[in-house]
Structure formats: structure tokens, C-alpha cells
């Protein structure tokens, strides 16, 4: 008898739990899941946006596998992400070490100041840097020729290395504050008793940081890496507003999201654009899995 009563209590509690989480899942299903499934459906069709939807089977995917521009855009995106992420993580680790282990006056101000670039709209930033560098009479050319570093105006946006590096720089500038804040938050979760033990054992500050703090905040680093990969591989707004949204010069800053946007909304190939986005999803999933297993493997080896 008592057991039955216990079971009834348990069942009724779970039911309310489901009610509480239902709103999210309903909204997710309508606004995220359905469009994603429809995109996958579209990837097997050919559609120009205004005409009829025609099924083409796997032809789009065959085209995708042979599409050099797609692979180039993947490489561009990955390269720009890498050049942004590594400096970002290093900066964040160094800055958070400085902030946590030294008493810096005005630390709160610095932390807020570093975070500020994250709040600016990426499209405005792209436009800003375009105005700074584009053309013979641009601000940068003016300054550099006046102070004598350059003899004549340099066509900044004709250089693929420069354009790609600039996008990475902008991304670093916008996100390093956020990464620093998250790492600092992760460091506060480490039990301070461990530091006392390390000090007793005679560890230096650097050794403490590298051998104790970093491994202890591994979950934070995993979170940062995976969200950075996912966001970074979807990069669109900064390169699109920086030059002419075709990835010029010579497609060096054509990201995959830009490529699929152009295919869909400029060339009216909605079916193929959906295929590109499905391909991008697969790539991001693979990269995230690799990243996760790499960071976790280290953990297992450490133990």
C-alpha cells in the first residue's frame, strides 16, 4: 500500500516537470526544428524562389562534393577561425592569469573595456574597417603616407593575406573580452585549497597556473572551443560587410555562410543553398566531435 502511494507521488511530480520544459521545446520545434528539416528537404529539390519546387534527388549533393568553391570557402572559414581562436585563447589565458593572481587597480574597468567590442554590431564593424582601409585616400593610407611608412597608397583590399588577416583580427578584437571573462569565471570555480597545497609543495606561480589551474578549468575550455568552432564556422556578417559580399579579393574571405547566402538569395538557387548548409552542418558536427574528443583524451591521459 505504501509503495503504491510512493509511486503515485513520483509520477505526478514528473508530469509537472514536463510542463515546465514544454514551452522551450514547442518554440524550438516551430522556429528551429521545422526550418531545419525543411532545409534538408529543400536540399533535394531545385527551386528558384518564385517558381515550382522540383525534386532532383541527390544531384545537389553530387554537385556539392565536386564544388571547388565550397571547399575553398570551408578552408577560408576554418583558416580565419583558427587565426582568430588561437590568439584569442592565449590572450584570454594570459589576461585572466594576470587578473586573478595579481591585484591590478581598475581591474573591473579593464574587464568591462575588453568586453565592449563584443557589443558592437558586427555589420557596423565591417563597414568601419572598410572605410578605414579602402581606396587610395582612405584614413589608413593617409596616416601611413603622412608618417612616411608608405611611399604611395597601398591597395589594402587587393591583398588576400591582408583581407583574411583583417577578418581574423576583427574577430579576435570582438571576442577576446568575452573569452577572458568566461575563463576568469571558470578560474573562480577552482577550490583555493589546491593553491595552498601547491604553494606548500613549492610550486612557482607559472607552474601553478599551467599545471593546476588550466587542467581544472578544462570544462570551460571545452565549452569555449566548441562554441567558438560552431560560431566561427558560421561567420558571415563581418566578411560580408568588409568588402563586397562576394568574398573579394579573389574569394579569399568567402565564408561558407556567405557562399550559401549568395547561392540562395543572389543566384536564386535555393535548393543548392540548402545543400551547402547541410554540408556545413556536417562539417561543423565533425569538427566539434574532433575537438571534444581531443580535449577529453588529454584528460584521460592525464589521469
Amino acid at each position: 500500500m505504501r509503495q503504491r502511494k510512493g509511486r503515485r507521488h513520483t509520477v505526478s511530480k514528473s508530469r509537472y516537470g514536463y510542463f515546465f520544459i514544454a514551452p522551450f521545446f514547442i518554440v524550438f520545434a516551430i522556429f528551429s526544428l521545422y526550418p531545419i528539416l525543411y532545409t534538408i528537404f529543400l536540399s533535394f529539390q531545385s527551386w528558384d524562389g518564385l517558381g515550382l519546387v522540383n525534386s532532383v534527388g541527390v544531384k545537389n549533393y553530387e554537385r556539392l562534393l565536386k564544388d571547388e568553391v565550397f571547399y575553398q570557402s570551408l578552408w577560408n572559414t576554418f583558416r580565419m577561425w583558427m587565426m582568430n581562436f588561437i590568439p584569442q585563447i592565449l590572450t584570454a589565458l594570459v589576461l585572466s592569469a594576470v587578473f586573478t593572481f595579481h591585484r591590478i587597480r581598475g581591474m573591473r574597468f579593464f574587464r568591462a573595456a575588453f568586453y565592449l567590442p563584443n557589443l558592437i554590431t558586427a555589420a557596423s564593424v565591417g563597414l568601419l574597417f572598410n572605410l578605414l582601409f579602402d581606396g587610395d585616400k582612405s584614413a589608413m593610407n593617409h596616416i601611413l603616407t603622412k608618417i612616411g611608412l608608405l611611399e604611395e597608397p597601398f591597395a589594402f583590399f587587393n591583398s588576400t593575406v591582408f583581407a583574411s588577416g583583417l577578418v581574423s583580427y576583427i574577430q579576435w578584437w570582438m571576442w577576446f573580452g568575452y573569452t577572458t571573462v568566461i575563463v576568469m569565471a571558470g578560474i573562480t570555480t577552482v577550490d583555493s585549497g589546491i593553491y595552498d597545497a601547491a604553494m606548500v609543495d613549492g610550486a612557482t606561480r607559472t607552474q601553478t597556473y599551467v599545471k593546476i589551474t588550466l587542467p581544472m578549468i578544462r570544462p570551460t575550455l571545452i565549452y569555449l572551443s566548441i562554441t567558438s568552432i560552431i560560431g566561427g564556422m558560421q561567420l558571415f556578417d563581418v566578411p560580408a560587410t568588409l568588402t563586397n559580399s562576394l568574398g573579394d579579393p579573389r574569394k579569399s574571405i568567402l565564408t561558407t555562410a556567405m557562399y550559401l547566402y549568395n547561392q540562395g538569395f543572389r543566384n536564386h538557387n535555393y535548393g543548392y543553398a540548402s545543400t551547402v548548409s547541410a554540408g556545413l552542418f556536417v562539417i561543423i558536427a565533425i569538427l566539434s566531435a574532433l575537438c571534444m574528443s581531443a580535449l577529453q583524451k588529454k584528460e584521460r591521459e592525464g589521469q
Binding site: L33, D134, L235
Partner: protein, 451 residues
């Protein structure tokens, strides 16, 4: 094993979740904000206050009432609104200006979905053929419109026809082109500023480059951007970009690439892209000689910026007469307000008085022959030192070649300019640039055959 499966599932959920919502990363949404969608009130105060529309009867005006939704990719259509509302006091016109880059992206889903589509919408020359063929614009020669295009310049109406010959769009403007040059620099270097004589000096590509060299000696760059010249060369072709579903690269395009290279190597232009701030600001500069732009170029680039250079500009013919660009407008086929829409379209595109007033105020070349002829009789423009642009354009319209526009023009032009730029700046050889161009076109439109 089970833990791994759960971890994998959670990771997919994470990827789907942050991928779909764009969590902490950047999202692939359209980045450009709709700068133009201010309230239509701003636009109405700009429109010309002169009286228009003597053609309509009183009965028409009082019978029509309601609200009309108009989407425009530029500001010009909004300038007709005030005059239209004076003629039709019970009709409210809501104009939404969507920037041209986003126009198709915004329009296509609404047309395909059928929800929230405007009653009237425009189409710029880059993609007007695409919209005309799509069938979402109503047939304007059928009932109840019965459009009469006899007073309209032929090419304007022909662009608005689809491949079956049905008239689907009209325009309030025609866009013949010219070379707009600075009189003071012409007097200084060429010895004359008379449009006829200057036209003789630049009546071919070689002649233009000779003049460019002479200007360079005096430290003046002839062109604001060599990419402007594509506007003119566009009409110099004997074939459109796509014929019988295959890509055709006309001879004139190849020689244009060489011209671009010569200009870049010798520094005959500013080294910027059109519509960059520096390019627009060159109107007032003291080292840029000319713009090669169609009629809207005068209206949007030269006239608004000309301040100290008022009276120092003039128009003449370049190597060839040409027409480029323009915006067409049509009525959405499922619109519930077709009578209102037609009243508006008729006012903008077929009403000679309204166009005359519009052209006089804004200096834009309009699409009705009668209006243009009347405007040619009036005074010249102050910015042009008294030259009457309408008279000039009228003479150009006689000499125009047939229209060679296709639905693919927008993307193909961009790809071609990109390839030409690589060749002009010396990054690629001509064959490499052309191969890259062909690959781009094949990539964008796999249905076109590209050799």
C-alpha cells in the same frame, strides 16, 4: 557505449541549438539593416509640390480610396507620392524603401509565401528580367489596365515584356548614358569645354585613352573608376551575356578588360570601386575629370554633391551611345488593390504632366517621349552650366542599340568586374581571369553552358 551515444546526441542538440539560434557565435543572417525603411512621411515632404494629373477625371479621383503598399528599391518612386495623393486624396500610399542589395532576398519569400506581399513593387535592371519572367507581375495590356505604351520609349517597354511578349512592367524613367565631365578641366587641358567638340575627342576607346594621358600630365585622373566604363561598354556588345542558354563573351568585353588594365597601370583613375565614399566625393575634387554614368548618375551622384563645381559640369557622348540600369515597376498579380495600384502606376509611368513636373524638379530623364520633349524646351541645369540634359538625352535615344538584358546580368556583371579587376591590377593573366569568370558563372548558374 551508452554514455558515448548520449554524449553524441547531446552534442548534436548543442550544434542544432546554437547553430539554429546562433548562440554565442556569429549567425549567417543578413547583416545589412534596412536603412531605408523610414516612415513614408519623410519621403512625402521631398516630393514635388507642383500640380499634376490634369488627365484624370473628377469621378476617378473620388471613387478610389484605400491604402496602397509599395516596395521600392530606391527613393525615386517615393517622390511621386505627394503629387499622386494630391490627385487622389482618398488613397494612402505606404512606400517602403528596401536597399537594393536586400531587395530580392526580402521580396522572394513574401511572393512565394503569398503573405504580406506589396501591391506594387519595383525591379532594378540587374534582376528585372528575372521578375518579369517569374510571372508575379500582372499583365498590363490586359483588362482592366489596357496600358498604352505608344508614348513611351521603346526599350523601356520592351524590357518590361516577358519572353511571351506580355507587358508586365513599366518604368517612369529611361536611363541613357553620357560622359559627365568637368568644364574647367576640359578648358584647361583640352582647350574647349563645348560638348560637341569634347565628344569628338573621346569618340573611341583609343581616343579616350589619349585624352586620359593628356590629363595625367597635368595631374588629373580622367575617370572616377574604370568600372564606370562598363556601363557604356554594356551597350557596345553585339550579343547579350546569355544566348540559347550559353555564356557569350562579346569581343567588346575583352577589349574592355584591356582598357581597364591600361587605365589601372597608368593611374588614370582613383583606384576605388563605384559607390565607395571616395568615388562619390570625387564630384568636388580637383583631380577627377569625368564620370561615365547613365542619367540617374547625374541625378544621384553629380547633382546632389555639386557645390563649388556648380556650372562646371557638362555631358557629352562617349565612344558609343548607351543605356544602362533603370528601375521598372509592376503590379503584384494577387494584389487586392489592383485599381489603386494601376492608378499609381499610371500616374508615375504614363502621365505626361506628372513626369514633366518630376523631371523638372529632379533632373531625371523620364520614360515618356512627350514629357522629355517638353522638358528639353525648358531651361538648362545650373550644375551643367546651362546645358539641358533632356535635349542631350533625346538625341542619344535615337541612336540606341536594342536591349540586351538578361535575368543573369546582376551576378554575371559582378563576376566580370571582379575578373577584370584581377587582370587590371596584374594579379592574374587575361586567360586566368577569364577562366575564373567562367567558373564563377558556371557555379552560380549551372543551367548555363559555359565553354
Amino acid at each position: 557505449m551508452k554514455k558515448r551515444m548520449i554524449a553524441l546526441l547531446m552534442m548534436s542538440a548543442l550544434v542544432l541549438g546554437t547553430g539554429g539560434c546562433g548562440g554565442t557565435g556569429e549567425t549567417p543572417e543578413s547583416a545589412s539593416p534596412e536603412r531605408g525603411s523610414d516612415s513614408s512621411a519623410d519621403r512625402q515632404t521631398e516630393a514635388d509640390p507642383e500640380n499634376t494629373g490634369e488627365g484624370e477625371t473628377e469621378a476617378d479621383r473620388s471613387a478610389l480610396s484605400g491604402t496602397l503598399e509599395v516596395w521600392s528599391s530606391g527613393e525615386e518612386l517615393g517622390r511621386f507620392v505627394e503629387g499622386f495623393q494630391a490627385a487622389y486624396p482618398d488613397v494612402t500610399v505606404n512606400i517602403t524603401v528596401v536597399p537594393n542589395e536586400d531587395f530580392v532576398a526580402k521580396l522572394t519569400p513574401t511572393l512565394a509565401g503569398g503573405q504580406g506581399a506589396p501591391d506594387v513593387f519595383t525591379g532594378e535592371s540587374d534582376y528585372v528580367k528575372y521578375l518579369v519572367e517569374s510571372g508575379f507581375w500582372d499583365d498590363l495590356e490586359g483588362a482592366p489596365y489596357h496600358a498604352d505604351t505608344s508614348d513611351m520609349w521603346e526599350y523601356v517597354a520592351s524590357v518590361g515584356r516577358d519572353s511571351g511578349g506580355t507587358l508586365r512592367a513599366l518604368s517612369w524613367q529611361a536611363s541613357p548614358g553620357s560622359v559627365m565631365y568637368r568644364r574647367d578641366m576640359a578648358r584647361d587641358v583640352l582647350g574647349t569645354d563645348d560638348p560637341e567638340k569634347v565628344a569628338e575627342m573621346i569618340n573611341s576607346d583609343e581616343a579616350m585613352l589619349d585624352v586620359a594621358a593628356r590629363l595625367k600630365e597635368k595631374g588629373i585622373k580622367m575617370f572616377a573608376s574604370w568600372q564606370d566604363i562598363l556601363n557604356m561598354q554594356f551597350s557596345n556588345r553585339s550579343n547579350p551575356w546569355v544566348a540559347d542558354n550559353r555564356l557569350v563573351i562579346d569581343e567588346s568585353m575583352l577589349s574592355f578588360m584591356d582598357m581597364a588594365k591600361t587605365i589601372t597601370e597608368n593611374g588614370y583613375d582613383l583606384g576605388v570601386d563605384p559607390w565607395a565614399p571616395e568615388w562619390s566625393a570625387a564630384v568636388e575634387s580637383d583631380d577627377t575629370f569625368c564620370y561615365v554614368l547613365p542619367s540617374w548618375g547625374y541625378q544621384f551622384v553629380v547633382k546632389p554633391s555639386a557645390d563649388t563645381t556648380k556650372g562646371e559640369w557638362a555631358m557629352c557622348q562617349g565612344a558609343v551611345p548607351y543605356v544602362k540600369g533603370g528601375t521598372w515597376v509592376g503590379i503584384y498579380k494577387d494584389s487586392p488593390n489592383k485599381d489603386l495600384a494601376w492608378a499609381f502606376m499610371e500616374y508615375c509611368c504614363l502621365n505626361s504632366e506628372a513626369q514633366k513636373a518630376y523631371g523638372a524638379e529632379y533632373g531625371e530623364y523620364v520614360s515618356l517621349k512627350s514629357a522629355d520633349k517638353a522638358l528639353a524646351e525648358q531651361n538648362g541645369e545650373e550644375v551643367l552650366g546651362g546645358q539641358n540634359p533632356f535635349a542631350f538625352y533625346n538625341s542619344q535615344m535615337e541612336k540606341l542599340p536594342a536591349d540586351l538584358m538578361t535575368a543573369y546580368d546582376g551576378t554575371i556583371n559582378n563576376a566580370f568586374l571582379s575578373a577584370a579587376k584581377d587582370y587590371a591590377t596584374g594579379v592574374k593573366s587575361k586567360e586566368e581571369a577569364l577562366d575564373a569568370f567562367k567558373a564563377d558563372v558556371a557555379n552560380a548558374y549551372p543551367e548555363i553552358t559555359v565553354e
